[in-house]
Symmetry: C2
Subunit: 370 residues, 2 copies
Amino acid sequence: MYSRRKFLLQISSSAALMSAFPITKSFSEVMSNSYDGPVLRVALLGLGSYATRVANAMQSCTRAKLVGAVSGTPQKLKDWQSKFNIPEKNCYSYDTFDQIKNNPDIDAVYVITPNSLHRPFALRAASAGKHVICEKPLALNAKEGQEMVDACKKANVKLLVGYRMHFEPKTLEIIRQRNVGTFGKILYFNGQTGFTIGDPSQWRLNKELAGGGAMMDIGIYSINGARYMIGEEPTWVTAQETKTDPAKFKEGVDETILFQLGFPSGAVASCLSTYAMSNLDRFFLNGTKGFAELKPSTGYGPIEGRTSSGELNFLHVTHQTVQMDEMASVILENKKPIVPVDGEEGVKDMKIIDAIYKAVKSGKKETLSL
Amino acid sequence: MYSRRKFLLQISSSAALMSAFPITKSFSEVMSNSYDGPVLRVALLGLGSYATRVANAMQSCTRAKLVGAVSGTPQKLKDWQSKFNIPEKNCYSYDTFDQIKNNPDIDAVYVITPNSLHRPFALRAASAGKHVICEKPLALNAKEGQEMVDACKKANVKLLVGYRMHFEPKTLEIIRQRNVGTFGKILYFNGQTGFTIGDPSQWRLNKELAGGGAMMDIGIYSINGARYMIGEEPTWVTAQETKTDPAKFKEGVDETILFQLGFPSGAVASCLSTYAMSNLDRFFLNGTKGFAELKPSTGYGPIEGRTSSGELNFLHVTHQTVQMDEMASVILENKKPIVPVDGEEGVKDMKIIDAIYKAVKSGKKETLSL
């Protein structure tokens, strides 16, 4: 992931670097590639563009290794075998997927399908005795998500949600500063997440497959961002929907939703979720003694952050590389991440999404019980 | 206001300058101080810190002139006479104020008192046949504001609201770009206005005098900002209040309110009004083709602005100087400003404030009819 030279150049520019470093790799790991601890052997399921991004990022992982692939398209499996050096015996179609239970060389399945398929594939992976990593949103709603949590618990496998931002160094540095009181009493979070979505025929704009619209895909970043930036669980939500292109965003597929979350301390979050605008991707946290801003806050590219005290000069990391290495430690060594990524965390966000959709319809403040 | 040298230095850095310039002063006015047109002769009423700021700014005015003062404190009148060269015959106490009707050397009274006194003093000034400029908020509520509009109409005098941002060059440049389609279809405005208020005994935290809390004072900037940045009138509002310091912010005095406005085009505004945080003062306007940001957006100091195309390099102006010169033209020459500053404009904002307070209580979407 890093060249030695680049690493040494960058380390000199960041006094705070070492404190954040443990969440990515140990110094010795990076410098020597001498890691000889446990490795999580992962099969990716659903070989679309995001799976390809994860697979590429995993080439730089130390503690996680891409070893298998599951797809409904035979040609994709062939392509991945050659591109990522995956043995044919670790490849499955959706029909043969359940046989993965007999494969001792795969520890975990990372489900990267349209949202409606998260639950069935997670349940099948759990039945096969494999740990499950599931892309966000965890499920179509909290009820489905809870079924997944219960099934994985029953099967004695772990269930994680693919929340890559939960391991992002600048994000974690802001959380650290918040915890030590740098920003004083936290009063406000503003999250603006959205982009202009293209092809109207894609699954993300299909209610059956996506379970909703922008909220399920990009608004969810503001939801869990509000929670991890403020550091509390919200107790109420209000929401307002607007739709400027009903031909593209059909019934049940939200284009733009404003939502507000209230927290026990009195802090509030005000957020935007949209598929109709670009130029967003900003988190802003404000307290009585200072502020923190992440902009971009959730994109794949470098996250940029600053606080009342100045710029955060940290290493840029490939999110999915860090995520998969950290998830390996969570699964294999019971490591507790600073911001949780377990199934219960995913269910909390689904409960908030359920309440947002309810609040849009009721026009009222909906109570949350996370 | 500008030195010739500074002006020439700055003009070279801004290709867009000339298009904005007509809203401040004509080139020849600045360069020669040769203005010999009509001058609005103004008395300030309520000689607190903001009036002092206005009086200082008016020293650089061309078309408006500070000629009178009205105060309940005799010593302040003495101080102002010497400091601002105001003749004693143009000074009034609150008791003698109505005699201003017999003074042919004063054209207008600028009311800069606690909010609850705006209406009575505006009515008295109108009865005396003087034009009225009233600090924002126009009144304690829309009903009061409408009475003021009606009284001034009946007295055949003009009523303006002290909306200094309505003449701010970067703000107006963004409005110009929006009007020519630079940002595409406008979809979103985010206004964050607030500051940490000090002395708990001040009139701004007294319900009787202020009529409310942060919303009346600083939230109103986000309200009229949403309207002039989006360029439409909102049709609904929702609002959520939070209060973390009920000892400081008593019943009827709002500390922090989130509010949302919906517009006929489908655009939405999401705003924060607070007396409990600093590090705010940001306007963000987003459309399908680009964005505009003002940060700071409403403070007294230099406003800084940028769009998708880069920084807005404009002259920094003293807001109150430009405001008073422009208001002179509005009053004396019937000039129509790009963003209105008349009493009706003030009433619209009061209607929205009324609806925000109503929405906080009802927890529902309140319909607006401006």
